[in-house]
Symmetry: C2
Subunit: 239 residues, 2 copies
DNA sequence: ACAGTCAAACCGACTAGTCGGTATGTTACA
DNA sequence: TGTAACATACCGACTAGTCGGTTTGACTGT
């Protein structure tokens, strides 16, 4: 239902504002500890609007996870590292990009779906599935580059492109937990460095990072600072 | 209806039972979503007993995190891999041991403090600190072996033993999140495999795992099955 | 141009139930 | 007789969700 692609945008969109508020609040306080009233307050919207757009708080969580998938897909697909011709450089550039995103408050760079799935995996199947889809979908994007790199570099191994892609996500999620525990992004950055080193070793790229970054299309390591925190955009109405 | 056990209460220890119940429930449902009443029910104890032993729910969380530190310290210090003479084998054996612990339900092998800190890092400073201490303390144990291995193997590197130790914890915590998202331990095991391969590469141990495991003191890979899930013991009264 | 119609969007007081926490016992034992 | 260790009843605050009503704006017929 909802008939989402209507040519008219009747309202500034309480729905979008609620999704955006959920990004901030759930990452900051967790899902269970975030009351509906507070989501409404942050979004500048009333409770009536909330339950007009979402059947329940859980339904919002599912929508938020789906929206997160779309927003992050958009962010990473348009990121500059993605234009690298060498697929391995795309993989390493991806990690540099992730590292560059570790700025500001912890809640601003951590992962919504990773936070949520941790809390609800055993009690809210639908939310868990939406989070799983988000993580797996993101991993699939990385997997494509890894698989291509394996071909180009002639890497034959016991590990699969998929398992390595999932491993990158595990490292990132774990790095976020350590960042939360320690109160800052430094540990997370160090962990990404280790992951990068691992991938270099797997592909036998012994050169230091510098050389990788000064290649002809050296777009890997830089920051699209303007959008370090993915925002819910109006285009993210479903997912 | 109460009348629930022997009128004699020699010293069954409501406190210990509550801590043990918190291990199970918080790992299963998260901290915020675990009501005090349910903790009491699981522990077979009344609410009065709860607030007799803990000033607040938050105080229980701090105690649980400290208890977790002690229980896991005891578990890993007595684990067989720890007797390896070669420090590198201890590190790799640690990973094999962690992998072997990935049995049963997800809530039975995931980390209490990792789960908790994710939820409360921004709102409950004392709990966060207790979780941080638990993770860092555990990492320090791994760090000692890594540092020794670096000496023995003459490894000089940009990375420190500490950062690699923290990285192992990041991988494990992240592996737990993926396991929660996917509903089983397989992804987590694969991620530990990648971490193991990384460390082998760092130490230039090119031999396959088999050879490592068939060495003279090949205790690395086995399971202390009887205690895969750390239990709160009576000795864990404070921490 | 304009009154009428309709449905979606939105509002906010209200409720039923849950939550963490307390007040006041009761029991076992030193 | 005192004290630690419980047990039970209860409280006020909070929470997700409801419901009757109002606003908004697109569309229609005249």
């Amino acid at each position: 239902m909802r008939e989402r692609s209507q040519p008219k945008r009747p309202r500034p969109g309480a729905r979008e504002k609620l999704l955006e508020a959920s990004f901030a609040l759930i990452r900051e306080k967790g899902y269970s500890a975030t009351p509906v009233d507070e989501l409404c307050a942050k979004a500048g919207v009333t409770k009536g609007a909330f339950f007009h757009h979402f059947q329940s708080k859980d339904a919002l969580a599912v929508a938020a996870a789906n929206c997160w998938s779309e927003v992050s897909r958009a962010l990473f697909q348009t990121a500059p590292y993605h234009k690298q011709r060498d697929p391995l450089y795309r993989v390493l550039g991806y990690l540099d990009f992730r590292k560059a995103l570790l700025k500001g408050e912890v809640a601003e760079f951590t992962c919504l779906v990773g936070t949520m799935v941790q809390e609800v995996y055993g009690t809210h199947a639908e939310i868990r599935e939406a989070c799983e889809a988000s993580i797996s979908g993101h991993a699939a994007m990385v997997e494509a580059d890894i698989a291509e790199a394996m071909k180009v570099y002639g890497v034959r191994a016991k590990w699969s492109a998929q398992s390595l892609a999932l491993h990158t996500q595990a490292v990132l999620q774990g790095a976020f937990i350590l960042a939360k525990a320690k109160g800052g992004p430094d540990v997370a950055a160090a962990s990404i460095d280790h992951l990068r080193r691992y991938i270099e070793l797997l592909f036998k790229v012994r050169t230091g990072r510098k050389r990788l970054l000064t290649g002809p299309q050296a777009l890997c390591g830089y920051i699209a600072r303007s959008s370090s925190t993915p925002k819910a955009s109006a285009s993210c109405v479903w997912g």
